[in-house]
């Protein structure tokens, strides 16, 4: 993902490009689980609101992208262990998915995407007739 430079963001004042922290994009930490009928992708995206979240499924690829609004801070940091940033990750899924049935939910900074398997690949119980 391309991040704009400090000069594009703020305009070069008096011809001087003052470096500010450029926005960072992280690969969110995920869990992926499978049941008989579906896959579930759970991604940690702290700070992302539903209005700044995009979930896309195209040609077997799930893309999740969330943007974080970083509040303006002039105070000096006393302890700095992380830099807030956006989240983006692409997952290739090699199994057939029922794209119309995909459901995404965002709760407490965690995104959960349910990808139902296409009916043709779901396991089917075959009834046995007794004679």
């Amino acid at each position: 993902m391309a991040t704009s430079t400090c000069c594009e963001n703020q305009g070069a004042k008096n011809g001087v490009c003052k470096p500010q922290s450029a926005k960072v994009t992280y690969r969110p930490v995920i869990d992926v689980v499978e049941t008989a009928d579906a896959f579930r992708v759970i991604a940690e995206m702290p700070g992302v609101g539903p209005e700044n979240l995009e979930v896309q499924f195209e040609r077997g690829e799930l893309t999740i992208f969330g943007q974080v609004t970083i509040p303006d801070r002039s105070a000096e940091p006393w302890k700095k262990e992380f830099v807030r940033g956006d989240f983006r990750r692409v997952l290739a899924i090699q199994e057939e998915i029922d794209a119309d049935g995909i459901v995404a939910e965002l709760k407490f900074g965690v995104l959960s995407v349910l990808l139902p398997k296409a009916k043709s690949v779901r396991p089917r119980k075959i009834p046995i007739s007794v004679r």
Partner: protein
């Protein structure tokens, strides 16, 4: 037991870490210095009136988190997170660390415990702790 297939990209945790580290290096284009740390990762900064504490706690429900002020210059964060995916699942990726956590850290100045405010916003916790009067900078008037 079902056999595990890998229909998802074969990127390991190492690649993720490398990516994050690269990002952090880039972010140092300013004068940001980041110290890797225990969970939850925390930023603390101070302005004229308050001490601000910011923590990333994705997946933690407000009722699962305990915030305690020990004395007037130490903060305790304690909590747990649930996975709850059901028992009958096949794992393809397991990167999330959902162990219970507890972390204590010192604050830069003494704070007024009665006025502390905490806000949870999409998995980011923000605690605002007003400085005690004696910890605030005072302007000294010079007599002419």
């Amino acid at each position: 037991m079902r056999t595990t297939r890998w229909p998802f990209e074969a990127m390991g945790a190492d690649v993720n870490r490398l990516h994050d580290e690269m990002n952090r290096l880039i972010s140092r284009c300013g004068f940001d210095l980041v110290t890797p740390a225990a969970f939850p990762r925390t930023n603390v900064w101070v302005d004229a009136e308050n001490v601000h504490v910011e923590c990333e706690l994705p997946g933690v429900k407000p009722e699962e988190l305990e915030i305690e002020l020990l004395g007037d210059q130490e903060l305790l964060l304690k909590g747990k997170r649930e996975r709850g995916y059901g028992e009958e699942v096949v794992w393809h990726k397991r990167e999330r660390d959902l162990r219970p956590f507890e972390r204590t850290f010192e604050l830069p100045v003494a704070v007024d415990g009665d006025q502390v405010k905490a806000e949870f916003n999409h998995g980011v916790l923000m605690i605002t702790l007003p400085k005690r009067a004696e910890a605030k900078a005072r302007k000294i008037v010079i007599k002419g």
